[in-house]
């Protein structure tokens, strides 16, 4: 037998369809065996204690990005967070910040996806496709490595202090996605495309306090992408001022 320990889960509950009820913490007491993740405990709570609890989940292996939430004050995926990793038997769960709560731990991700779509998150080509693959060296491919790893879980979006005060700010995930295409040797988007992010709603809005990097469960560094995009824009401007053609 594996020894189980008693845990207290406090979960912030609310319901968009019941605006008159204030969000409240509900307490659940559960036995937890070592190795059990926060998601596994959530599933047991919904199954065995309270069927009305709402949270998203799918892959339970930290690749689909469904279960981002605030766990004891830290933003992470519930599926990859061990319940025993906090040095306390009390676990507090809250929905991801910066988005409207639909119910309990489920937030409305529409704004996140709207920002994602704004950067034209797809490969743009001008030249005709070759018969076979478009060649790319190993080194060129490795430039986009970390940005390809993004699972669009919105941990960074929830952690970003800029979005908290300006909901029209593009946010870290969208800019990391843009950088993924800008750095891709195959992408041929017009050079002035970057002008669309050349303002306070885009690359210049970032506080560079690295909260997104801290929150990312996949070791992506969105701030790096924002800083790189800034550098590219500055270089472009310098070239223009000095009258240097590309």
């Amino acid at each position: 037998m594996i020894p189980a320990a008693a845990y207290t889960f406090k979960i912030l509950r609310s319901d968009r369809k019941r605006p008159d009820e204030r969000p409240r913490f509900q307490t659940y007491r559960v036995k937890v065996i070592p190795g059990l993740t926060v998601l596994a405990v959530l599933m047991r709570i919904r199954d065995e204690i309270d069927g009305t609890l709402s949270f998203r989940s799918s892959c339970r292996s930290a690749v689909c990005g469904s279960c981002a939430m605030v766990i004891n004050g830290r933003i992470d995926l519930a599926c990859r967070t061990q319940a025993a990793s906090f040095g306390t038997n009390t676990i507090i769960l809250e929905p991801l910040p910066n988005m409207e709560v639909i119910k309990d731990l489920v937030v409305d991700m529409t704004p996140f996806w709207r920002m994602y779509e704004k950067v034209k998150p797809y490969l743009i080509r001008q030249t005709a496709d070759p018969e076979k693959e478009i060649e790319q060296s190993e080194e060129e491919r490795s430039r986009i490595d970390q940005f390809v790893n993004c699972i669009l879980c919105a941990c960074c979006y929830g952690a970003c202090p800029v979005i908290a005060r300006d909901p029209e700010y593009l946010g870290p995930a969208a800019m990391a996605k843009l950088e993924r295409f800008i750095l891709d040797s195959r992408d041929e988007r017009p050079e002035d495309f970057l002008d669309t992010v050349n303002d306070e709603k885009g690359v210049w809005g970032c506080d560079t306090v690295l909260r997104c990097i801290e929150a990312c469960p996949k070791d992506v560094r969105p701030t790096d992408s924002i800083v790189n995009l800034r550098k590219t824009l500055v270089k472009k401007k310098a070239r223009r001022l000095l009258g240097i053609k590309k």
Partner: protein, 569 residues
């Protein structure tokens, strides 16, 4: 209740569904329904790669699509329809190039071409990959393409029933999870790309969403299923969580080791060793465990998947995702320690009976991807062929739907979808008022009996026990109740609806497995340990009878140029 209406309705936002949508949205009013946001679909979890005879690997310069077809057919234990396999393998290079042109970031060889690695059951290194995140990059690329083309998506909508009348499909009934409403949707053509049924088993690598309910919905609407008894067990699921440890671990040179320190595959597949097909490797691991050569652990008995000799550099370059999963979920760094694994359910070879054009026999209803059975995988799927199947047949579905609509079928009849939606309403009302049975406990019992009694090794008495269990669970299901009448974001309600279909999926698997008195591919009978081509070189077709029982008929296998022979590796 008012019905929505579209030309084409695609159900499922994984690779097959997205590829179908992308192929049709320029010409038709297309809507894609998915019970999770498309980017959360289970395609995202595929790791190792996608097969295509590009001949990029220096060790495979004379690879051809015909060799790919042969490997696939031999891997299938000759149950695959050879014309369909040939079509898929012929299309494979074009599909991979197309995905690359759309932005898919494949790993590269030094000459700038798409990198390819060896995989199980393949005579050539033809698995194209992006480190160990191939499903992730393919799904992102197709979703990006869908965004570019403005495909209309209904995210977090769940289909609850098919609207078939007079043998023609008119659309579906759906449940809008966010708003909690039941919505009838009329469509001239409906494509199911709803994925596999992994969660019918207790030990599965699959996502929690993989209930197979799409397959069960089709079956309950009278659409036949094919070869349901063929269930793939992946050799290497992480102990405890059963998270997939890609075949690429072995493709890159990883060893399987028992408690005596032996690379035991030597005894089972002396030439292919760890890279024998999955059915063979899974049986070998299970045999080692059953005969006491596994390692004991509180979470179960395991075998070691050893990557330590590959070295840090190779692991970081080729298997970074695997390393991260091991560190996050079991606190083991595979650079230093072997990974504890056990075989578990992984893939559904069987599914909705379709031909190679994704047609189901019901006009207006098509199926593609893991929920469908063409069959290109037969008795056992080769690694790297599932991603290929989703995209090839998603594209094929687009072509087939286009052809169907260009023949100008009649308009979808709204009253048929309204009736389907009313049925869902009634069911939800009954579930809310319902009895004391809980979905999770019935689901747990169902999944346990399937893993225990219809697993890697099968025999009559155990499967009869499973059938009894399933019958009892079906009875008890009548008394299932949910806690809350509020429908929005009510996952307990959705799970309760899905369980009805999972029970039927489990039933057809077990029924087919009991009937098939031979051992072929992943279907291994202890009481009939030989392949029997004379009697069983044929597909099983399961159809729900009027009284709710499962009727099985048979259909011959299409053989073109590869005559069945003994399968040794």
């Amino acid at each position: 209740m008012t019905a929505l209406s579209h030309d084409v309705l695609i159900v499922g936002g994984g690779l097959a569904g997205l590829r179908a949508a992308v192929g049709l949205c320029d010409t038709y009013d297309v809507a894609l329904i998915s019970k999770v946001h498309p980017i959360r679909s289970h395609s995202i979890a595929a790791q190792g790669g996608i097969n295509a005879a590009l001949a990029n690997n220096p060790g495979g310069k004379d690879d051809t699509w015909e060799k790919h077809a042969f490997d696939t057919i031999k891997g299938s234990d000759y149950l695959a329809d050879q014309d369909a396999v040939e079509a898929m393998c012929r299309e494979a290079p074009g599909i991979v190039y197309e995905m690359e042109h759309w932005g898919c970031p494949f790993s590269r060889f030094p000459d700038g071409s798409i990198a390819q690695r060896p995989f199980g059951g393949a005579g050539y290194p033809r698995t194209c990959y992006s480190t160990d995140l191939t499903g992730h990059v393919l799904l992102n690329t197709l979703y990006e393409r869908a965004v570019m083309k403005g495909v209309r998506v209904y995210p977090e909508w769940y289909v609850t029933g098919l609207a078939i009348d007079d043998g023609v499909c008119h659309g579906v009934a759906a449940f809008d999870l966010m708003n909690g409403e039941v919505v009838p949707i009329a469509a001239k053509a409906t494509v199911f790309a709803t994925g596999g049924y992994g969660r019918v088993y207790f030990y599965s690598t699959n996502a929690l969403i993989n209930t197979g309910s799409g397959i069960g919905i089709a079956y309950k609407a009278g659409v036949p299923l094919k070869d349901m008894e063929f269930v793939q067990f992946h050799p290497t699921g992480l102990i405890g969580t059963n998270i997939l440890m890609t075949e690429a671990c072995r493709g890159e040179g990883g060893y399987l080791v028992n408690s005596r320190g032996e690379r035991f595959m030597e005894r089972y597949a002396p030439r292919a060793m760890e890279l024998a097909p999955r059915d063979i490797v899974s049986r070998s691991i299970q045999t080692e465990i059953n005969e006491g050569r596994g390692f004991d652990h509180p979470l179960g008995t395991y075998i070691k998947l050893d990557l330590t000799h590959l070295g840090e550099q190779k692991i970081l370059a080729k298997l970074p995702g695997i390393r991260k999963i091991c560190i996050d979920f079991i606190g083991i760094d595979p650079i230093r320690e072997p990974i504890p694994i056990m075989p578990c359910q992984h893939y559904s070879m069987g599914g909705i009976d379709t031909n190679a054009r994704t047609e189901t026999g019901v006009p207006g209803f098509f199926a593609a991807g893991e929920c469908a059975c063409v069959s290109v995988h037969g008795g056992n799927r080769l690694g790297g062929n599932s991603l290929l199947e989703t995209i090839v047949f998603g594209k094929t579905a687009a072509g087939a739907v286009d052809e169907y609509l260009s023949r100008r079928p009649g308009a979808a009849r709204e009253e048929v979808v309204l009736t389907a939606a009313r049925k869902t309403e009634e069911k939800m009302t009954a579930l809310v008022a319902g009895g004391r049975e809980k979905t999770f406990s019935l689901h747990g019992e169902l999944a346990r009996t399937m893993s225990m009694n219809v697993g890697i090794f099968r025999e009559r008495a155990e499967m009869e026990k499973a059938l009894e269990d399933i019958g009892r669970i079906r009875e008890r299901y009548r008394n299932v109740g949910v806690s809350s009448p509020a429908r929005h974001m009510n996952y307990e309600l959705m799970n309760a609806i899905e369980l009805e279909f999972m029970i039927e999926v489990a039933h057809t698997i077990t029924h087919g497995a009991l009937l098939r008195e031979e051992s072929r591919g992943a279907h291994w009978r202890r009481d009939f340990p030989k392949r029997d081509d004379e009697k069983w070189l044929r597909h099983t077709i399961a159809r729900m009878s009027g009284d709710g029982t499962c009727g099985i008929s048979f259909r011959g296998v299409t053989i073109t140029r590869y005559q069945p022979m003994e399968r040794v590796y």
